[in-house]
Structure formats: C-alpha cells, structure tokens
C-alpha cells in the first residue's frame, strides 16, 4: 500500500522520444565507450550542474546591500564572499576530473549611480556557473558577444535598459581565469526589506548587468534571439 496522494493531476510530460534526445544519448555513450570520459564522471558532473542556479549570486548581492562590511568583502574578494552564500569555488565543484584552482577567481563589480557594469565573454561563453548557473542562450550568441563590446549602450537599450549619457558603462570581458557578476545599485522602494525579499528582485539579468532590479520584478524578461544583420567574421577565418 502506498500513502501517496494520487488524486492530484500529474504535471504534463512529453510522451515521445525525439531524434535529438536519441542523438544526445548516442554521442554521450560513444564518448564513454571510447574512454573520452567515464560514466561516473559524467554522472557526478551532471548532478553538480543540476544544483546550480542564480540564487546564490542574488543572495550575495542582497547581503551586501544590507551589510556594509560584507559589501567590502564582496568587492575585495568575491571568492571568499561566496562562502557566505554556500558556494566554495574550490571545493563545491567535483574535482575528480580537474577543475583547477585558477577557475576560482570571481570579481564582484559594484555599480554606482554614475557607473554601470555589464558582463560578456567576447571569446566564447565563460560564465560564473558555480554561483550563477547556466548561461542564457542570448549570452552565447555572437550577436551579443561582439556587439556589446562595441556598442554597449545600444545593446543595453535593446534589453530595455536606457542609461542617461552621464552614466558610464563599463564592459567586463570574462575569460578563462576570471568570472564576473554585477552588484547593481539597490533600488528605491526597498527600504526595510529582508534579505529574502531583496534576493528575489536580483534576477539573473541584473547579475549579468543587462537589467537593474526593481520592486515587483522577480523574473527575467523574455528576449527574442536575433542574428546580426551584418555578422562580423570570426578572426580565425582571416
């Protein structure tokens, strides 16, 4: 006998196998058969990736807004500050397959009323996954990567973020050694809020820098993916 409640309606599921699902599994199994990695390593890494998301980074920002000493720590040593939100850049990722310590360099970029940071990886899609989860699709696109470093104000305006000319925009280009998150300015209307309340409005897009937190806004705006009209040639084609 089961004491589970079967009266509720199950969540909808996709009830067919797609060729893409088959392809993903076949590629993975062949890679394992050929010894490119082990099944156990894959299982462990997949479980780890499942645990990742933007909440720890959002909480880091919320804590910093509430605690001036913690804010100083976050600005000076992002890796150390991450521990307070449950992320140890050294020990959290599985190390069986070599996540070396030089991965562990998080910088927290503090916005001011006159300075706005925004993060990109112009080369590929480096992203602070241990504290921010998987990158969104648009972050990976050449359109975002190449245009943001050239025309940051224009790209930010496409995200709905219109910045007055007196606000300086600083683009941080992630790389293999250093990852970034943005600490936006705490918005008006949040006086007296708890850490949990503040955490809710620090969305992933705020942490990348393409949005700013607003009371009542707790999710990322859906954004259509667009191709470059005049795509820039890859440098390795030259």
């Amino acid at each position: 006998m089961s004491d589970h409640d079967h009266s509720h309606k199950p969540a909808p599921m996709v009830d067919e196998v797609s060729d893409f699902e088959i392809l993903e599994m076949a590629v993975r199994e062949l890679a394992i058969d050929k010894g490119l990695f082990s099944q156990e390593d894959h299982r462990v890494w997949t479980e780890y990736v499942h645990t990742l998301g933007p909440v720890p980074a959002a909480r880091l920002v919320a804590k910093a807004w509430l605690d001036p000493e913690y804010k100083k720590l976050a600005a000076a040593d992002g890796v150390e500050a991450s521990k307070a939100v449950g992320v140890d850049w050294v020990t959290s990722p599985p190390t069986q397959f070599g996540t070396p310590s030089d991965y562990c360099n998080l910088r927290v970029l503090e916005d001011t009323p006159k300075l706005k940071h925004v993060v990109v990886c112009s080369l590929c899609s480096c992203y602070p996954r241990p504290i921010l989860g998987q990158s969104p699709e648009w972050y990976r696109t050449p359109n975002y990567r190449r245009r943001l470093v050239r025309w940051p104000r224009q790209v930010l305006s496409e995200f709905g973020l219109q910045l007055p000319p007196e606000v300086e925009v600083r683009v941080a280009d992630s790389n293999q050694k250093t990852r970034y998150i943005v600490m936006p300015v705490r918005p008006e209307g949040t006086e007296g809020w708890t850490e949990d309340q503040l955490t809710e409005i620090v969305t992933r897009d705020c942490l990348i820098g393409v949005a700013v937190p607003k009371p009542g806004i707790t999710s990322n705006a859906k954004r259509p993916i667009r191709k470059a009209i005049h795509p820039v040639q890859h440098d390795h084609d030259h």
């Binding site: 969540a11 909808p12 599921m13 996709v14 009830d15 067919e16 196998v17 797609s18 060729d19 893409f20 699902e21 088959i22 392809l23 993903e24 599994m25 076949a26 590629v27 993975r28 199994e29 062949l30 890679a31 050929k34 490119l36 990695f37 390593d41 894959h42 890494w45 997949t46 990736v49 397959f97 070599g98 996540t99 070396p100 030089d102 991965y103 112009s122 080369l123 590929c124 899609s125 480096c126 998987q134 699709e137 990976r140 050449p142 683009v171 941080a172 280009d173 992630s174 790389n175 293999q176 050694k177 250093t178 993916i225 191709k227 795509p231 890859h234 440098d235 390795h236 084609d237 030259h238």
Partner: protein, 140 residues
C-alpha cells in the same frame, strides 16, 4: 579585463571546422522534433529539454580543464575537445548549416558535427548507436 578575440587563432594549428553537411545529422534535422514544438504540444513549461544538462556535462568533460586555460596553454592531447575550439566551431556552424536550428538543439548538432569532423567518433558508428538507443528508449 579584456581578452583577445584572436586567442583561438594564436595557436597556429587550429583548423576551422569543415561545415559540409553530414548525412546522418541532416536526417536528424529532417525528422527530429525540437523541444519548443514538443513542449508546446504537450503543455510542458520547462524551457529546456531534459537532455540539455547532460549535453552540457558532455561538453564540459570533453573539455577537461581547457575551459579555464588560455587556448595557448592547452597541451595537445590533454583533453578530447578544447572548449574554445568547440565554441568556435559552434559559432561557425550556427552561422551556416545549422542557422535555423533552435537552441539547445543547435548546440547538440554542432557538438556531434565537430566530433565527427575532428575524428573523435565516426558517422557510421554514431548511426548504429542511435539505432540501439532508439530501440531501447522505445521498448516496453
């Protein structure tokens, strides 16, 4: 704070990916149903297919520690597929033959294409394995 866009090119032996279509993968494109269509049909709200996480893990494991090194520092043979090489290939393929494929199916197609063209797996053995997987998943 900046990195050079030419990093992937600064190692002289990088060869741009061959973007000639692969028959097996073209068949997947013709017959495969993408997640956004399946999710809409079945009323599923998850924006990503369940296999996206395992695909990410496969990419990570093929890259070893190359995702935290400059391309110049990656020792040849130290990993199956350096992350920068895979991403450069994906950019090229997404600009050409997989231009109209949505994400993350595009990432999967690009990975399979790269692995075949760079000799990590063979098209024939992938076809055989796909048949086995299909039979397994559709059994019972």
């Amino acid at each position: 704070m900046s990195t050079s866009d030419s990093d992937v090119n600064s190692k002289g032996d990088y060869q741009a990916i061959d973007t000639t279509p692969i028959s097996l993968l073209q068949t997947v494109l013709e017959h495969g149903r993408v997640w956004e269509d399946l999710a809409a049909q079945y009323g599923v709200t998850n924006p990503d297919p369940p296999w996206k996480i395992t695909l990410e893990a496969t990419c990570d494991l093929l890259a070893g520690d190359s995702c935290v090194k400059s391309y110049k520092e990656v020792v040849p043979g130290s990993c199956a597929l350096p992350s920068l090489e895979r991403r450069a290939d994906e950019d090229d393929l997404a600009d050409t033959i997989y231009e109209d494929v949505p994400f993350p199916e595009r990432q999967l197609m690009a990975l399979a294409h790269t692995m075949i063209k760079r000799g990590l797996i063979e098209e024939g053995e992938l076809k055989c394995r796909m048949l086995q997987v299909e039979q397994r998943l559709n059994s019972g």
